[in-house]
């Protein structure tokens, strides 16, 4: 069968966009190859590792296992959309200050996943962070500093220690 192409309208990191996608095109391919936003990483490709995490209508999802057409009418946030100009998001600052990454491959996904947690629960306990973040894998095993970074970000964002 020939590829079927459909038009989509969506918001990308705060801007209105439109595109045509093939029905069988995956969101991760659309983001990386068509939008040229390569901060979203492909790793396990089976929804386990979280390297490809993006935020779709406020929810963390694996972009490796969603069709691009599902973007239609929705709001997509990728790691490139977090900073406001030169001003980094508090999570990004905290990851730098606490050394929340080693090789950096999982970092985009970790930060975006953590953002969805702090958006729902600005002051999570350490245990709550652990349970929520166990979705994503850091293959360098730098979990301790990732946790510390998220706790620091929560503190920065609320003014209260996590």
């Amino acid at each position: 069968m020939d590829a079927v192409v459909i038009p989509i309208h969506f918001r990308l990191n705060g801007e209105n966009r439109q595109a045509e996608v093939r029905t069988h095109e995956l969101l991760i391919d659309f983001i990386r190859d068509r939008l040229d936003l390569t901060g979203t990483k492909r790793s396990c490709d089976i929804e386990i590792c979280g390297a490809c995490t993006v935020i779709l209508d406020g929810k963390a999802v694996s972009s490796c296992s969603i069709f691009a057409y599902e973007l239609d009418g929705k709001e997509l946030t990728t790691i490139e959309g977090l900073a406001q100009g030169d001003k980094l998001h508090p999570l990004q600052e905290a990851f730098i200050e606490r050394g929340g990454f080693q090789c950096g491959f999982c970092t985009s996904g970790m930060i975006l996943l953590a953002k969805t947690l702090l958006d729902q629960k600005p002051n999570p306990t350490r245990k709550e962070i652990q349970h929520y973040m166990d979705a994503n894998i850091c293959r360098c095993t730098g979990y301790q500093m990732i946790l510390e970074s998220i706790m620091l970000a929560a503190e920065k964002m609320t003014g209260k220690p996590a």
Binding site: M1, D2, A3, V4, I6, R22, T23, H24, L26, D45, I46, E47, I48, G50, T53, K59, A60, V61, S62, S65, I66, F67, Y69, E70, L113, T116, Y132, D134, A135, N136
Partner: protein, 287 residues
């Protein structure tokens, strides 16, 4: 690489059923997609027509129906919606506790309970607990509706009783009578449980009046172990605690797990024994 397909986005269940009847084996239903898209990517499934039912109205609700005393979970309700549902928490706290453990938050945000059951992967959480609850599965086609006991819905590894033209529309979970306590325990080295146990017990004056013991992931589908359920009736809470390991052994003897990537037969039996005795402790504690 996924092969191209024709996309259909029905807005009503009637429309979805008509499309499925029209395209038959050439079509696949997409609810959340957390299982189906993996299969499509691995070429373990193919669809010339994809029927995306996410837009079907009225299938994403969770409600408790007082007349039937049952929780009605629409076929498109995600794991995350159940996990955060106040209605579910009020009537079925154990269901919420189980849903909170399914895979990971990204999968729970997208994956649906209905899709999970239709995939019939034995190494999944919901099927085991819903078998203990005696859930009923409502399915629909252009010919009408059927209501299936979950034990008849699951047929074999990755196989359900769904006919080619049927769509799961609702999961009904009947509320337990008063004085029940329960536990859902699993051993989960990764994303999916390797062995799971769901134990529900009814109490009357400190003794067990009734029990539902279900093991998951030890065969093609979750299994109740009636001979051990019967043996528990009439036993005092203290007696059950004292015999916990023994009861666990009876459960592990009664099941027939395969040796596979999840472990050897002996290993799985050992885990069954441990999960069951811990589950009994929790049931007694919460009695």
């Amino acid at each position: 690489m996924i092969s191209p397909f024709q996309l259909h986005r029905p807005k009503t269940i009637e429309e979805a059923c008509a499309l499925l009847a029209q395209y038959g084996e050439q079509a696949k239903i997409l609810a959340g997609g957390s299982e189906l898209i993996l299969l499509l990517k691995m070429n373990l499934a193919a669809a010339a027509h994809l029927i995306d039912i996410k837009g079907v109205a009225g299938m994403d609700t969770i409600r408790f129906e007082p007349e039937s005393q049952a929780l009605k979970v629409g076929g498109l309700v995600t794991h995350r919606s159940l996990e955060t549902s106040r209605v579910a928490l009020e009537h079925f706290p154990l269901l919420v506790e189980m849903e909170n453990q399914v895979a990971n938050i990204r999968v729970r945000n997208i994956g649906t309970l209905g899709g999970n059951l239709c995939f019939a992967e034995p190494h999944a959480d919901p099927g085991t607990l819903l078998t203990a609850f005696g859930a009923r599965i409502k399915v629909r086609s252009t010919h009408g509706e059927r209501l299936l006991d979950i034990r008849d819905f699951f047929v074999d590894y990755y196989q359900t009783a769904l006919e080619r033209d049927e769509i799961l529309t609702e999961v009904e979970i009947p509320k337990l009578p008063a004085n029940w306590s329960g536990a859902y325990l699993r051993f989960c080295p990764g994303e999916r449980p390797s062995v799971a146990a769901a134990i529900l017990m009814q109490w009357a004056d400190g003794t067990c009046a009734d029990a539902r013991l279900t093991l998951g992931c030890v065969g093609p589908k979750p299994v109740r172990i009636p001979e051990v359920e019967v043996a528990l009736r009439g036993k005092a809470a203290g007696e059950i605690l004292a015999e916990g390991v023994n009861i666990g052994t009876k459960m592990s003897d009664a099941c027939d797990p395969p040796a596979d990537i999840w472990g050897s037969v002996d290993y799985k039996r050992q885990i069954v024994k441990t999960l069951v005795s811990r589950g009994l402790q929790k049931c007694v504690r919460d009695a």
